[in-house]
Amino acid sequence: MVSPVLILAIGLGTAFALGLLSQARKSFLFLVTLAALALMAAISLGWVVALATGAAMTAEIHTAGVAPPFAINLRVGLAEAALLATISLAGLFSALSMREPLLRLGRGAMAVLLVLVMAISGLVMTRDLFNLFVFIELIAIATAGVVLLSQDQRAICAGFKYLVVSQIIAILMLIGIIFTYHATGSLNIDDIVATPVAFHGAALAIFLLLIALVVELKPFPANGWALDIYTSAHPGFSALFSAATGSAALFAVDKVATYAGDAWLPLLTGIGLLSFVGSNIVALRQENDRRLLGYSSVGQLGLVLAVIGQRDVLGDAYLYIAGGLILSHAVAKAGLFWMSAIVRGRTLTDWAAIRARAPMVLAFATFIAMLVGLPPFPGFYAKWDLAQALVAAGRLPILSLILLGVLIESAYLFRWFGYAIKREAVEKGLLANTVDCGITLAAVAGGWALGWIWGVAHGEFNVLATLPVLAVVAFLLLEPLPAKVKNVLAIAALLGWFAMVVGGYDPMRLIFAAVMIPGGAVILIASFTETGRRIGFYPSAMAMYAGLALLLEATTFFEFFAAWEIMTLGSYFLILRGRMSEPHALSYMLFSLGGAFALLAGFAIASGGVQPFPLDQLGTVAADLAPYVFVLLAVGFMTKTAAMGLHIWLPGAHAEAETDVSPMVSGILLKAGLFGLFLMLMQLGRQSLWGVDLTYVLVWIGAISAFLGAVLAIFQEDAKRLLAYSSISQMGYALFGIALMNHLGWLMAMMFVINHYVYKSMLFLAVGGVYKRTHTKLMYKMGGLITLMPFTFVSVLVGIIAMSGVPPLSGFGGRWIFYNAIMDAGLRLPLILIFMAGPIGFLYLFRLIHTIFLGQLKDPHRKLKEAPAWLVAPQMIFVAFLIGFAVLPGMALQKVDGYIGSIFGDQPLVWSGRAIASEFGYWNPVAIMVVIIVVFVSVFLILLAKNHDAQKVKQFNIVFSAERPYRPETTHFAWNFFAPYRKAMGFLETPVVSTFWGGVTDGINGVGDFTRRFYNGNGQSYAIHVVLFVVAVYLIAMGGVA
């Protein structure tokens, strides 16, 4: 191993040496610069590997041949090495990104860049306070220099503002350093730690030093100067500024915090949280991409600062957590800045141009997932461990603030991603070139590699090493194949996985697995209709399925949570594919993340920081905590099942999704929430909070969802929205059943799991097929399609009979179990809502079939054909299944019934032959079916005998209002179909919940918009902000000390 000091020597030496080379041969100079940076990167990477594998010990480098504290010394441990590698790689790629201005301005600019990278590296390595100052000043001056590389004239103003603030920082820092020296007689950080401090001004000295370093982190709100740099500098430099300078400055704070002592940590936490939450709120209203990234950088640095402030409780995990967050931030932010070089326009919507290049979309998605902390990236592992540690230390408020900040951050990041995927792309919006794309992809590769490393280091569970996630990666690589080939592979993958795992599951998991995995395969049959390559669909879909597969496999909290997040991410990308789904996908993502954070907190409280915590030990949580765990987990799961109040994402998300996506996210994805609820209630059982039985609350929520979901469904004009609201209602039933906490309630919920999957998938596919032909989802624009699309009609008919619970189809079984369940429950009032929801469900279902398939055929539709065979095929499978399941419900339910019996210790149902009896009643599905068929056939034969020769008449062979109609539009009664109902019950349609959530988001946005006026652009004001910030923190800190 070569000495790490060579990193400094190479940087500096090359910078000096450039002056000796010919100014004219710019390409050569540039190559030399790149080579130097590459060499620096190679050395630091070598150290990373050596330190991580234990091949080398932490390097202590003495200068001047004298041991510290008398001479400056440097240190390279694993953390330093990792940062050095990040810095030098960022430097290398940024140099590539800045190739044009570097070549234009020549060796001076290259030298400045080299010195900048060298200085940032020095800042990481040095253990001497004053040396730290020197490196910071070098960074400041080099920054002022590199900012000038931007073609943007505003960069000059930005550079000047930056210098003004640097002056203030320098003044504070020097005073801090000299008085620290006076107090301790040493400038060496490790030496200071070891020395007892006598001088009572030392606290103030430490404060000045710390605050100077903190200001260097651009804390909100004293950071207008930094934002201007992000906005106007060359993106290559901004990448460096955010990724390298920011990380190194954080590391400097960490070093100083070590000797300053734990008393200062709360202050750092406070500043960090303020910065994180504040700048994210301000960022909400930002439309300039680079400035947005600036806000996000400030926020991320604040987050890590808060983590530094929590180091006292993080213990051994500190490096893992802080490192995970810093590296995620560095890679993602650098990647995004580099990417911004290929986008011509500067508003967020201009990023729609990247859509033309699939790898860039992948890159964008990767970076955003990294920033938000989604699996499989390091931030995810860090977030998990952080939550565990914070909760274990009883610092729940801090965790809540952090999660709030992440949520707000994800709001604007995912909104931005939505713009990129959905907005109109301007002509020539892309300045695509190989180099910029290349370095962006390098960052992507880095991100995935880090994800792998963090997964390995986590020890418990490496997301990327699981077969389902590997399959997702494989599908990413298979993207160039045609869609049909990928579809075959996807179906094979799902079935293969199911065959592999099916043996080990208990009956309940088996039902869920069957619905999620082979169930997904059946829906995928419909995807054969798609031609071309269908870029993006398969990785997203497989990510969702991977999440679901892992969810069923999960044995610990962490595995469960990881699976949950993967599923969420995959489904978000799927939903976003819909034509008009941009806002809905966003709200889906935000609600899902919010729900996931509730899960995170709930799991953390439950485990009390013990890791790994087995999922089946959830029941052992302390009795006083259990209700809170219950609430948090329930909220998390109910977000997924779209219980009333948390449902507003669902209608849009499901309705606007693609034809084959809607059944996936509706028929399959919603079951994940039910699965979670089952797991939770199985372990926690009934819990009371403030004297209220929480399962009663769930029962009420279920009943209200079932009722209001149905009411809202009948007022929809859009067929898919109608089905979406119907899902809310159906999930309400299932939630109701689970929350009854008795055997039959659970059995009913399981029945809903199966039934809802089948008929909702079927109906979505059917409506999707109609949409494919008619190009509209508005039901009143259709009508009379029965003869043109008979198969689709049959599937809708069977679907609505099944869903409404009319015998003889399988929905009736659910109702029958439901009645038996409530006989046991001892609950009365919520039932009223459920009773009412039943017939209301009938209303919207009738509307669905009537307005689409019956009534008057419209002129533009006269030549329509049946839906594509690939869409009809899975529907027919579902029809067959529904009929089979109606006759033989035992084939799926009997085992589950036994399993649930083993949980509750009772066996209320008696399965004798094909008949089922309970304590209260009985049900013989075969007999029902036979009686109905026999009667039906008999009556039909009578009619046929008389009317077999009935004359087929034409469409308008009716008389209406004393004339024969000729326009289908005026004759088809479809729009506002249940007008009387609206008159009577329309008040239930008041969008209370949407108004509430709208108010919340508007409020936060308003705060952001108001706050950002603070950044008035005046460099002097920014300087005043900095001083104000320092003084305010001083007063608070001293108040805290006093």
Binding site: L797, W816, F846, L854, V939
Partner: protein, 301 residues
């Protein structure tokens, strides 16, 4: 209870009795209503004449498959409902196929015919049929609610969902009837009974048919015959359920005849003295009056 072949002729016999009883009784009720209005009314065998005439009609048209099947669904619903409910308590042969399912089956099977009919009428393309369906469905959601609550209340009361079980529990005298043991539930259920018998004030659903161009004219010949058949047996089937669970059931055909007639008269009487509600008015009515009674019923069990 299990299936034996002898149950088939037994069930057919029950069906035959009910059909004829229904034919006559509905005619009688119409005649009574006419007399109240000072008109002579129809002869009591009028239903038979109509039936025969309709079956014999030779002019018949067809709007499509669902149109064709609509009456089949409708009548299947009526017949099935009778077959799933035991008619006479204690009779060895009038139990029909009630082993197939309990009260819940009966309650949900009511919708079978409604659904089929609605679909058939829908395919005719006539807007009035759609309007009628829309109104009917809207009204029934509110009207059925007290019934559902009442059923739940008495299921709790008797701790069974089996119709036979409920009837059994009411044996042993007038005051064992649900009517007296749980008057609230019965009161609530009667809201639903009156509300779903297609009589005034809750018969606005039929209004589009009254203009002489509605679904009944679209449905003609044997279609109409099937519907008419259903029209006489379906109210009886429904009344049987009410009789069984609220009014002690019937142990003989005579008791059956009397109870059904009296029950059937309730909506008829209410109907002749009340004007029509609009749909939203009837919805509000059921929510305002029927629902609270139903809630009281389940809360006081």
């Amino acid at each position: 209870m299990t299936f034996e072949w002898i149950q088939v002729p037994y069930a057919l016999a029950t069906l035959f009795i009910i059909l004829n009883y229904g034919m006559l009784m509905t005619a009688v009720v119409r005649k009574l209503a006419a007399r109240v209005g000072g008109r002579p009314g129809i002869p009591v065998w009028q239903n038979y004449i109509d039936l025969v005439k309709n079956f014999a009609l030779r002019s018949k048209i067809n709007h499509g498959v669902m149109y064709y099947l609509g009456p089949v669904f409708r009548l299947t619903g009526g017949i099935g409902l009778i077959l799933f409910v035991p008619t006479i308590y204690g009779s060895s042969w009038a139990q029909n196929f009630s082993f197939s399912g309990d009260l819940i089956l009966a309650l949900y099977f009511i919708f079978f015919g409604t659904l089929g009919m609605a679909l058939g009428a829908g395919e005719s393309g006539h807007p009035h049929s759609a309007i009628g369906v829309s109104r009917g469905l809207a009204q029934v959601t509110a009207a059925e609610l007290p019934m559902a609550l009442a059923v739940f209340a008495i299921a709790l009361q008797y701790q069974t969902l089996s119709i036979t079980g409920i009837v059994e529990a009411q044996q042993g005298g007038l005051f064992h009837w649900t009517l007296f043991t749980n008057p609230l539930a019965v009161f609530a259920a009667m809201f639903a009974y009156v509300g779903t018998m297609m009589r005034s004030p809750f018969d606005v659903v039929l209004a589009p048919q009254e203009i002489p161009i509605g679904p009944p004219t679209e449905y003609h010949s044997a279609y109409l015959a099937l519907m008419q058949t259903n029209r006489v047996i379906f109210p009886i089937a429904k009344t049987i359920i009410y009789m069984n669970i609220f009014f002690g059931g019937a142990t003989t055909w005579a008791e059956f005849a009397v109870k059904v007639f009296l029950l059937y008269m309730i909506p008829a009487v209410i109907g002749v003295v009340h004007p029509r509600f609009r749909v939203e008015q009837s919805i509000r009515f059921f929510l305002k009056w029927g629902l609270p009674v139903g809630i009281l019923a389940i809360l006081t069990v």
